[in-house]
Amino acid sequence: MRPAGTGPGLPEGKDRDLDGLLALVARGDEGAFARVYDQLAGPVYGLVRRVVRNPAQSEEVAQEVLLEVWRAACRFDPTKGSAATWVMTIAHRRAVDRVRSVEASAEREQRIAQPIVHADDVASTVEASLEAERVRRCLDGLTELQRESITLAYYGGYSYREVSQLLSSTLGTIKTRIRDGLIRLRDCMGVS
């Protein structure tokens, strides 16, 4: 297992920086928070936008996430993972909460009606970056079912039950594909 505090999200040095900044944020340092914002607002907004899609709602959710980072900074535990991972976990959870809360509405039906996520657009609408390129290469190395399961679950915000329905596979298969797909991604991206 990888040593505490070195996350995979960013080059290690930058990640350490973030861990340190978050410790300052926990003590109420607004300047440190502004630096955390500058490093993470893009990834937070980009992820939320991919899941939520609606720009106004995405902005609201992204704001909520960043405010939560400020509010709960002292609850960040570097022994459980990097600061980047902590923040992006909050972002993903909030984005997923937002799309699931409109479950019964027409918006949701529309989301379900059109399979909106393609592995192809993983990097097409985002800032071109080496990281995106590397992630895309690693996604390309997965089987189609692994890739689709992970993309729908992570970027689409679908539960594994919904993914199993969308891909007409059993629950057990989807569960396993998400897991072994992520493990393969981990190894491909050198997370460990």
Partner: protein, 252 residues
């Protein structure tokens, strides 16, 4: 549905990407993870892997978001750290003190009683008020510190911003707002808890409170409630009579 250990273990990936939407199932997995170090380690790695997917979709946020977030930050109190109870230590210290200077501590105690009596007389008039303020502060702190407390900020239909901090476990929420336009003459903003059993009034914003209001503490929040805000005649109503300008589901 009973899940075997192997079934539970296979959920590490789905858990890492928040794809378990069935709450009992998620709780069962979390319980399992507390005992299964291997699962916890795997979840940690796979969550970190998912973070890479997040960074791959980075995108410049709207330019005015930075100012908004930094302004909100300067108005938002942070959660306190989780601390261990110090009760044991302080009672040991007290024992050492009284052991060494028994007479002094009796004299001190007597003096304290005297002071307390004087203070009691002086404070008797304001005690009740103080008690109310303290109770309110305690209640506010309890919501902010609740392990399940969540903060949600949302824009109202008329362009204001409302922030709710709530805890379903404490059955309470705190409402604050800024940038709300003044309500039309003779009207007020009214807050509601909209629940499956019924709709309950949850407080009024006075006419002067439109710009910046709160914190308003409301108790009796239950699972499944939705928070709402409407414009109502001055004095408030028993039930909402207009379309809500803000609706926030209070999710666990």
């Amino acid at each position: 549905m009973r899940l075997s250990r192997a079934d539970l273990h296979a959920l590490t990936g789905a858990y890492a990407v928040d794809a378990i939407d069935d709450e009992p199932e998620r709780e069962r997995f979390e319980r399992h993870m507390r005992r299964c170090q291997q699962c916890a380690g795997e979840v940690r790695d796979l969550t970190a892997t998912a973070t890479r997917l997040a960074f791959a979709s980075s995108r410049p946020p709207p330019p005015d978001m930075r100012g908004t977030v930094l302004a909100l930050v300067s108005q938002t109190r942070q959660l306190p750290p989780v601390v261990e109870h110090r009760g044991a230590r302080s009672s040991a210290a007290r024992a050492a003190w009284t052991g060494r200077f028994p007479m002094l501590s009796y004299a001190f105690a007597a003096a304290c009683v005297g002071v307390a009596v004087v203070l009691l007389v002086v404070l008797i008039g304001t005690r009740q008020q103080l008690g109310r303020v303290q109770a309110r502060n305690t209640a506010l702190t309890a919501v902010l510190n609740a392990p399940d407390s969540r903060a949600v900020t949302q824009t109202t239909n008329d362009g204001g911003h409302a922030t709710l901090v709530y805890s379903l476990r404490r059955h309470a929420m705190i409402f604050t707002s800024h940038g709300l336009p003044p309500p039309p003459p003779g009207k007020v903003y009214e807050l509601w808890l909209i629940g499956p059993p019924h709709v309950r009034p949850a407080g009024l914003l006075g006419p002067g409170e439109a710009g910046r209001a709160g914190p308003i503490l409301t108790t009796g929040v239950i699972k499944g409630d939705e928070f709402g805000m409407t414009v109502e005649p001055a004095g408030g109503t028993r039930k909402p009579t207009t379309t809500p300008i803000l609706l926030i589901p209070l999710r666990a």
